[in-house]
Symmetry: C2
């Protein structure tokens, strides 16, 4: 691993522990971690306010349009350059940021089609994390203490549907399909910590 | 692993090397391997001739009906018991054989919805193997020297579609979806031998 960059992209079911796994992997490897941080970077690069990226984050056209009509503040850069008003442009800006970051240094990138954007990067390992429904419901309720147990399954279904729509719209692959990734792990099988160890051993195996 | 049985089910894209991986895993672990062998067992258990199971192997109703109308010999047991004429019954017989084998001993089971049939078996690890299109085309052409390179991609698509139809019909999961399995690996990333090592290390990690 000495001379090779470590770029790990993580796709994840909602409540699968994918974000925690990504974060801890970055800590263990001593490398950068990007999740929501990509929004700040994309905002800096483009001059478009972060709130705009945030509302559009991992959402497709319709959702973005909805966010639009509901109204939120846009900074002057957008009004000066109408190209930026399409979500395809926002995706493009974010993609450029992802490529730039991955070219510069080893890092963990969570979500946002990073596996597809970096498909030609030989250093990249794409991982997808799933988990048992039971564990996912427990985590979703920990994240959001207003979520009732009776609504949790439907909430998870919708959250994943939204991620899948975004991914399937911008890539030629299928979100959550085994053949879209190099490695997919059910984090409920080994638990979070052993799953992290196991992903690290994949990096060792590739050499 | 001393006191725990090792049951590994392997789902696989056509040409992914899943069969070879299963076979070598069984050799490395010194345990039984079942692929087409399940047909012989199901035939012995039921008294229905193997040819019948073979024609229906990993195919759904329509395909089976087609095999039927094309005509092939059925032994007398079938005519004595018309229940056996539905493919659901054939699936049931094969499922009973899979459960029986898994209750008796450590083994590798390839295809035939074994992961779903053994979903409540705590010893079971379900694996799905994918591979790059390039590797899959190469293997498909090695298996069948009459297959032209120009037809290979379409051949693979149909072969996987047939496996998916069978799996999706008999289970409440989706064939090839990451969350249907404990572990999914793209065998092109590490190569066949290192992929086998890596699956073995998952067993060690679970303890």
């Amino acid at each position: 691993m000495e001379d090779r960059k470590v770029i790990i992209t993580i796709g994840r079911q909602f409540g699968s522990g994918g974000r925690v796994i990504g974060h801890k992997l970055a800590e263990r490897l001593g490398i950068a971690y990007y999740d929501k941080e990509l929004i700040t970077l994309a905002s800096k690069e483009s001059g478009i306010c972060g709130e705009f990226f945030e509302k559009a984050d991992e959402k497709t056209s319709n959702s973005l349009l909805k966010a639009f009509t509901m109204g939120f503040s846009l900074n002057s850069t957008i009004f000066q350059n109408n190209d930026y008003l399409s979500n395809e442009s926002l995706f493009q800006i974010q993609s450029d940021v992802i490529r730039k970051v991955a070219a510069e240094k080893s890092c963990i990138l969570v979500g946002r089609c990073a596996d597809y954007i970096l498909r030609d990067n030989k250093d990249c390992l794409s991982v997808f994390i799933s988990a048992s429904l039971e564990d996912r419901i427990r985590r979703a309720m920990e994240y959001n203490d207003k979520l009732k147990a009776s609504d949790a399954e439907e909430f998870l279904r919708k959250a994943d549907k939204s991620r899948a729509s975004y991914y399937n719209y911008y890539t030629d692959k299928t979100w959550g399909a085994a053949d879209s990734y190099d490695l997919c792990i059910n984090s409920s099988y080994l638990g979070i910590d052993k799953t992290i160890d196991y992903i690290l051993s994949f990096l060792q195996a590739r050499g």
